[in-house]
């Protein structure tokens, strides 16, 4: 099993979620994060003083799924989160050793 961690632009979340749902992804978890990357942050001005704010709001989407589905899921994310502009984000793939569903105690594939 694999875990996909995708850092995306917040306003793309609905599209990504819908895309993954269509693919049959049953669950995912999102977190509000802040990113620092090629995309430059913005200036803020308070009483004449200028501050550079480097961190930009992003959403992290985490999906644990069977290895076979990873390629498709990544493709969907890439399509749905794409604007073509800097800051579109990244997808990271990690390996997951085990999954357990708390409610039922199921493990592995059944638990996803």
């Amino acid at each position: 099993m694999k875990k996909i961690e995708a850092i995306i632009k917040p306003f793309k979340l609905d599209d990504v979620k819908d895309g993954l749902s269509s693919l049959g992804v049953k669950g995912l978890t999102i977190t509000e994060v802040k990113g620092f990357g090629r995309q430059r942050g913005h200036k803020e001005v308070y009483r004449g003083a200028e501050y550079q704010v480097d961190f930009i709001s992003k959403i992290k989407v985490e999906i644990v799924l069977e290895s076979e589905l990873v390629a498709d899921a990544v493709k969907v994310i890439q399509e749905k989160a794409h604007t073509g502009e800097i800051g579109d984000g990244k997808v990271f793939i990690l390996s997951v050793e085990e999954v357990i569903r708390i409610r039922t105690g199921e493990t592995g594939k059944d638990a996803i």
Binding site: F11, D14, H42, K43, E44, Y46, V53
Partner: protein, 406 residues
């Protein structure tokens, strides 16, 4: 001059002033996080702009010596000859200055109401220009027509105690014009524009309610039985409309919402405004009760008709003000105010017709003028922020600020 009357009008002016920041919170809580400051700023900066406009030429255009029933002259430019003594025409027991500043607060609030229609997408420079032009070309003439000595709507005998036409219908139909011209927000129809801070919105509604006592009762320009009566019916209509909107939504959507109760309260305040100095408590129950229901209906209509009036100015102020102006023609009674007139239900059907004419005139004038003004601004400098700015939000893009930094 009377100290009690003066105290009442001055404090009322302070209460009405507070309505504009109250509105800023009411609106500010309903937009998304990224636009909270931009939305608040729309109201707040009008305290600056319109005050200056009003003091320089606005008051004179509205209340200065009449020209053909259409507009006041510029004789009172810069408050020239607006002094500490009472004016014969506007509040004979209070300083002329007190009347002027009381009216100033109305002039500020009215364009602030419109801002709900184009929240989350208007350029700030265009907004500033719009504010000045709208105040000068729409508000001042209308105000003169209805309240200025010699103004044609007032002379016709239309009853508008505290601004059903001047304030609410004018802002409501201008909001419609603005929503149509400026267009929908990005993602309209697919994005959920969920209010980011409802406690803020409810706080705003409470301040509006509080300030509205000054708005309506203060319009008596004296502190007498009529002021008390206007105070009472204002409170009643707001209360009943809060209930009525809440129950309507409960029936329709299955749950009573707090935003509904707050919106209903505002709808009731709008509805009672024109009649507040002419109708009694039982009439206020009906005006408020139907007011809440009608405005709720108006909100639903919006999604049917498909214009994006972000914060429902059309439904609440346009529709609510229209209902209130007509209801005044139904429920007005000279037993409440001998200087007023009777409405249809008190034996004078003619009054309803007069009210109707005043409503239509206001609507047509405000709608057409607002379209012209906006088209003009669009030509000169454009109206909307870029798509990128709209996505990122007004706060960062227009003001280089963020509302909350935790």
């Amino acid at each position: 001059m009377n100290t009690g009357d003066t105290a009442f009008v001055l404090i009322s002016a302070a209460l009405v002033m507070l309505m504009t920041p109250g509105l800023a919170l009411f609106y500010g809580g309903m937009v998304r996080n990224k636009n909270v400051l931009g939305t608040i700023m729309h109201s707040f900066i009008l305290l600056g702009i319109i005050t200056l406009e009003w003091v320089l030429w606005g008051y004179s255009m509205s209340f200065g010596p009449d020209h053909g029933g259409i507009i006041g002259g510029l004789n009172w430019f810069g408050l020239n000859s607006v002094g500490m003594d009472p004016s014969a025409d506007y509040g004979s027991t209070i300083p002329h200055m007190a009347f002027m500043i009381f009216q100033c607060m109305f002039a500020i609030l009215t364009p602030a109401l419109i801002t709900g229609a184009f929240a989350e997408r208007l350029k700030f420079t265009s907004f500033l220009l719009f504010a000045v032009l709208w105040a000068t070309l729409v508000y001042n003439p209308l105000c003169h027509w209805v309240w200025g000595v010699g103004g044609w709507i007032g002379s016709m005998g239309a009853l508008d105690f505290a601004g059903g036409t001047v304030v609410h219908i004018s802002s409501g139909v201008s909001a419609l014009a603005a929503a149509l011209i400026i267009g929908k927000r990005l993602g309209y129809g697919s994005t959920a524009y969920i209010p980011h801070n409802l406690p803020m919105t409810i706080t705003g509604a409470a301040l509006l309610w509080f300030g509205w006592f000054g708005f309506n009762a203060g319009s008596a320009l004296a502190c007498n039985g009529l002021a008390a009566s206007a105070f009472v019916v204002t409170h009643i209509a707001s209360a009943v409309a809060a209930l009525s909107w809440m129950f309507m939504e409960w029936l329709h959507r299955g749950k009573p919402t707090t935003l509904g109760a707050a919106s209903g309260a505002v709808a009731g305040l709008v509805a009672i405004t024109p009649g507040s100095g002419f109708v009694g408590p039982m009439s206020a129950i009906i005006i408020g009760g139907l007011g809440g229901a009608i405005c709720y209906g108006g909100v639903l209509l919006k999604s049917r008709l498909g214009y994006d009036d972000s914060l429902d100015v059309v439904a609440i102020h346009g529709l609510g003000g229209t209902w209130g102006a007509l209801a005044t023609g139904l429920f007005a009674s000279t037993r409440i105010n001998p200087d007023g007139a009777n409405g249809l239900f008190f034996g004078n059907p003619g009054q309803l017709w007069i009210q109707f004419v005043s409503v239509i005139a206001t609507m047509v004038f405000a709608f057409v003028m607002t379209i012209i003004i906006l088209k003009l601004i669009d030509l000169v400098m454009g109206l909307r922020v870029t798509e990128e700015e709209e996505v990122k939000g007004m706060d960062i893009c227009l003001h280089n600020e963020t509302g909350y930094s935790y």
